[in-house]
């Protein structure tokens, strides 16, 4: 059901390496008349590390945010795919009374027995509100490869986001923005995620395949919904191109940035200049700036 007010969980990266995602997201939601109420003193969701070390911790951390949102009696929206995944997992696990009690124990406080936590991703939020979008500058001529990453869609029974192999949520939004969404096969393949820190070689290999495929599919840029994917595809791109000696050059946007552009928000505000692969030339010669 459509709502106009949401509890907002930015997550660590959006405060640091992915500022542009956070800011563009807030701006776009504002433009659509959607109120985002940031959770008070939120903690890390535990992504990537916590749950791979300690199952319980992996649920307890996001459970905190779920509780906070429940107190506000608002559905919780997450921007980062990893956070989204963790929150969804927690919500899924907390359906079990056993788990609820256990978590209550470790958190040292009574946790609400009402276990219908509503968690949505920013993509779903925008997709629901495309009708509210007043397109000032349609992104005509821009060929976008929508990249969802692996965590939004999997496992289906937990995230229940969209088709696992060929999701459409972002594509729909991109179309509304006036851009062209190219069909390609790697929408939900892994980019290497947090391996960037320990096994960059893996990331280079996987991300290269993604970029190469996107380019082969005729895309002239990528749209993503996850800060980790973004940093892999954007910041590693030069390294990748060098290693594989091919002329890959694909600006990587957050879908919120593209939305912002189309809604006529000033590019500066959207921090389009914060990317490693400078998207401005592309936007210029497409006459979008």
């Amino acid at each position: 059901m459509k709502k106009s007010r949401y509890a907002y969980y930015p997550g660590c990266t959006l405060k640091t390496s992915a500022k542009e995602y956070d800011i563009s997201a807030r701006l776009v939601c504002k433009a659509l008349g959607i109120e985002l109420e940031e959770l008070k003193d939120w903690t890390c969701c535990g992504a990537a590390s916590a749950h791979s070390i300690d199952q319980l911790l992996g649920i307890a951390l996001p459970a905190l945010e779920l509780q906070a949102a429940a107190k506000l009696e608002l559905p919780l929206v997450a921007a980062c795919a990893l956070c989204f995944s963790r929150l969804k997992f927690a919500a899924h696990e907390l359906k079990e009374e056993k788990v609820r009690n256990l978590i209550g124990e470790v958190m040292g406080k009574e946790i609400s027995q009402d276990h219908h936590y509503e968690v949505v991703h920013l993509l779903q939020l925008l997709d629901e509100n495309t009708d509210k979008m007043k397109i000032e500058k349609p992104l005509h001529g821009l060929k976008v490869a929508c990249y969802y990453g692996c965590l939004l869609v999997r496992p289906k029974e937990v995230t229940n986001f969209d088709d696992v192999e060929n999701p459409q949520t972002m594509d729909r939004i991109i179309q509304v923005l006036g851009a062209e969404n190219v069909g390609w096969d790697f929408k939900t393949e892994c980019c290497g995620g947090s391996h960037m820190l320990v096994r960059p070689d893996i990331v280079v290999k996987l991300s290269h395949r993604l970029l190469a495929q996107a380019q082969q599919a005729g895309a002239d840029c990528l749209a993503v919904a996850c800060p980790v994917c973004h940093s892999n595809l954007d910041s590693m791109q030069k390294t990748i191109a060098a290693k594989y000696k091919d002329n890959i050059h694909l600006p990587v946007f957050y879908f919120t940035q593209l939305a912002g552009l189309a809604l006529g928000l000033p590019p500066k505000q959207l921090l389009l200049d914060k990317h490693f692969i400078d998207p401005l030339p592309l936007l210029m010669n497409k006459g979008l700036m």
């Binding site: 289906k156 088709d163 192999e165 060929n166 096969d185 790697f186 393949e189 495929q213 082969q216």
Partner: protein
């Protein structure tokens, strides 16, 4: 006045060890109408039974209670014993004082004895109300209906017909032959499928006792074992098969073409067509959905809107025997049968559900069955294996096993059984087609349970140099002209990438479309995947819960050819055994209606799971329920729902059950 004899069995120490049998006998002796109560070591033994027979005659007993093991154990035995003295076998009641008393109360002899006494009291109070019952006889129509003309149906039909009984085979396609006719060769012998199948098809087509109805469907079946009545819809062929000689001029000249279902979209067929060269009957039908003249007729009928289709009629002009009959319409034919064999077989899983493998999206990602058509000498490419996309000859071919099998995600958790072997077969045959072809097979497990299967699999590795990779691929995508398969070799734990020219998905089996609908028509049950459910998975594999309805072949579950043939034969044997009797004996433990009490609310008609209750109008214009004795299975649902207690169940009457309850407080 009932004269009851009670026989308490020691069952060695099984009962006597826990229950004080002598005490029991003492108590039971004193019950009204009990003229004899005695015990014996082993009642079921010959001497035990003999003593019962003597006792019945000496004391001229007219009711017998045997307190021993569970009735599920020896009721039948003791019924025979009783019957052998001339007493009606249904005047017997078993008191279960072993399984439900001595064995479960071994810890307390007193309690067990007291309980045994009560159990026997219950039996006594019930047996008093037993009445002599007599099985009834019904005539049998010695004529079998076979639904499905695949190898299973063909086998069943031939066997029944050769046993001397009439058979009607109903096939929904224009020709019999089923899936097997689409195959090129069969594992593990690699003998040509057509060569072993077509002779059987011809035999069936020419058998004097078999009536073949192709292009027809079973729409309705009513009645019961021995006396079914089926409505069969004969679709309009627009061709008079009595006149047609099958010369083939029409389908050679017909200008209207469409992708052929038989070739799975790899080849074309005409509007007037036979599905394949060796079709039986070898006579065409007109596909009214595309025929130009039919289109023209519809155009005229619908007030000539839009562009005028050509008035083709070429087939009609060319037909030497004037067999084309445009006015031929579909007709509903009603036939009587004594038994039905369901052999509707399977279809392969639609691989377009596997987007991650580009199923349906990439022309060069094909199903196993499509490869069969490509390899078949009578197939669309005349046996030349080429890539559907560009006609190039593939040099690297990758197979993926368990597509639509063993996959929870796709709702197909079961193993389709044949894919491992047919994939090995494909690999071997591809090598024979072109020695330069390198095959890779991605598998979860290679299952070779069958005669010569393992050897065949090894042959694929040793002779055809197939490379088996353990693990289900994660993705298949187009990379230039090639298809990239991403997977993991689970044995070495490394990711693997293979660039192939052609990818073959070993699609699994699922029941043919409409299997569930047919099951409902036959009042037979089907599982969540719409496979038919056998009466018992081990002991009654070709029967269903509905008497007279048999199932065979792949409509019950994934099966290979020899199994299907065996099941077809098994079903045929059951049918023949049924037909070898002149009448059917029905169990007398069924519902009876007291017409004087019946108020005709017809609640029972609605409830009966076997449609065994109908109604009729009496002379005084009252509606009353009537039980069909051959359909009634004696479940008792009707009497439990009958307010005026107008219907009752022989052997478990209201009075009897009530008396059993009462006896506990007497």
């Amino acid at each position: 006045m009932a004269r009851i004899g009670v026989f308490v069995c020691h069952c060695g120490t099984n009962i006597a060890g826990t229950v004080d049998v002598t005490k029991v006998v003492e108590v039971i002796k004193k019950l009204p109408m009990v003229v004899l109560a005695t015990d014996s070591k082993y009642t079921c033994s010959e001497p035990g039974q003999a003593s019962i027979r003597e006792a019945i005659i000496e004391n001229n007993l007219n009711r017998v209670v045997i307190a021993s093991c569970s009735p599920r154990m020896h009721e039948a035995t003791f019924r025979r014993t009783v019957a052998s003295t001339g007493l009606n076998p249904y005047l017997l009641e078993i008191a279960n004082i072993r399984e439900q008393c001595s064995w479960v109360h071994s810890d307390d002899k007193e309690v067990a004895t007291a309980k045994a006494i009560e159990i026997i009291k219950m039996a006594v109070s019930k047996v008093i109300r037993h009445e002599p019952l007599f099985p009834t006889q019904v005539e049998i129509t010695k004529r079998a209906l076979i639904i499905g003309g695949g190898i299973t149906g063909i086998q069943a039909a031939l066997d029944i017909a050769n046993a001397g009984y009439e058979v009607v085979v109903v096939e929904r396609e224009p020709s019999i032959g089923g899936r097997m006719s689409q195959l090129d060769k069969t594992f593990p012998t690699l003998d040509c499928s057509a060569c072993i199948l077509t002779p059987k098809m011809v035999d069936l087509g020419q058998h004097p006792k078999i009536k073949l109805m192709t292009y027809a469907e079973v729409k309705k079946v009513k009645g019961f074992v021995g006396n079914f009545e089926a409505e069969i819809l004969q679709k309009a062929r627009k061709v008079d098969h009595l006149k047609c000689t099958g010369c083939g001029t029409c389908w050679q000249k017909c200008p209207q073409k469409i992708l052929s279902q038989f070739d799975l979209g790899l080849g074309k067929r005409t509007a007037i067509y036979i599905p394949f060269a060796q079709a039986v009957p070898p006579k065409p039908v007109i596909d009214v959905s595309i025929c130009r003249y039919i289109k023209y007729l519809n155009w005229v009928a619908t007030g000539q809107e839009g562009k005028k289709p050509p008035e083709c009629r070429i087939c009609e002009k060319l037909c030497p025997t004037g067999a084309i009959t445009w006015d031929q319409e579909e007709e509903l034919i009603t036939e009587k049968f004594g038994a039905v064999v369901v052999a509707t077989g399977y279809q392969t899983y639609d691989h377009s559900h596997y987007q991650e493998y580009g199923g349906g999206a990439y022309p060069d990602v094909i199903s196993g069955l499509q490869l069969e058509r490509l390899m078949s000498a009578s197939g669309p490419t005349g046996g030349e294996v080429i890539r559907p996309s560009d006609g190039a000859h593939p040099k690297t071919v990758a197979f993926v096993c368990c597509v639509g099998s063993r996959d929870q995600q796709k709702g197909r958790p079961y193993c389709s059984k044949v894919c491992c072997m047919y994939t090995a077969k494909h690999a071997i045959m591809l090598r024979e087609h072109d020695p330069e072809i390198q095959c890779y097979i991605f598998y979860i497990d290679v299952r070779t349970g069958g005669k010569d299967f393992e050897e065949f699999y090894l042959r694929a590795i040793d002779e055809a140099g197939v490379i088996y990779i353990k693990g289900r691929p994660s993705k298949i995508y187009r990379d230039g002209k090639k298809l990239k398969i991403l997977g993991e070799d689970a044995l070495i734990g490394r990711p693997v990438e293979i660039a192939a020219d052609l990818v073959v998905l070993a699609t699994g089996m699922e029941p043919s479309i409409g299997a569930d609908e047919l099951a409902r028509i036959l009042n037979a049950s089907y599982d969540t995947y719409n496979f038919m459910v056998e009466a018992h998975p081990k002991l009654r594999p070709v029967e269903t819960q509905t008497d007279g309805v048999f199932v065979a072949g792949a409509c019950v579950g994934p099966r290979d050819i020899p199994e299907c043939v065996a099941h077809g034969g098994a079903a045929a044997a059951k049918v023949s055994a049924l037909f070898s009797q002149d009448t059917l004996t029905t169990d007398p433990l069924i519902a009876v209606v007291n017409q004087a009490r019946c108020i005709g609310c017809l609640l029972c008609v609605a409830i009966c799971p076997f449609k065994a209750i109908s109604y009729e109008v009496t002379r005084d214009k009252r509606l009353i329920a009537v039980v069909n004795e051959s359909l009634c299975k004696g479940c008792g649902l009707c009497m439990a729902s009958c307010r005026p207690k107008a219907v009752d169940l022989r052997g478990f009457t209201n009075q009897q059950i009530l008396d059993e309850v009462n006896s506990l407080w007497l």
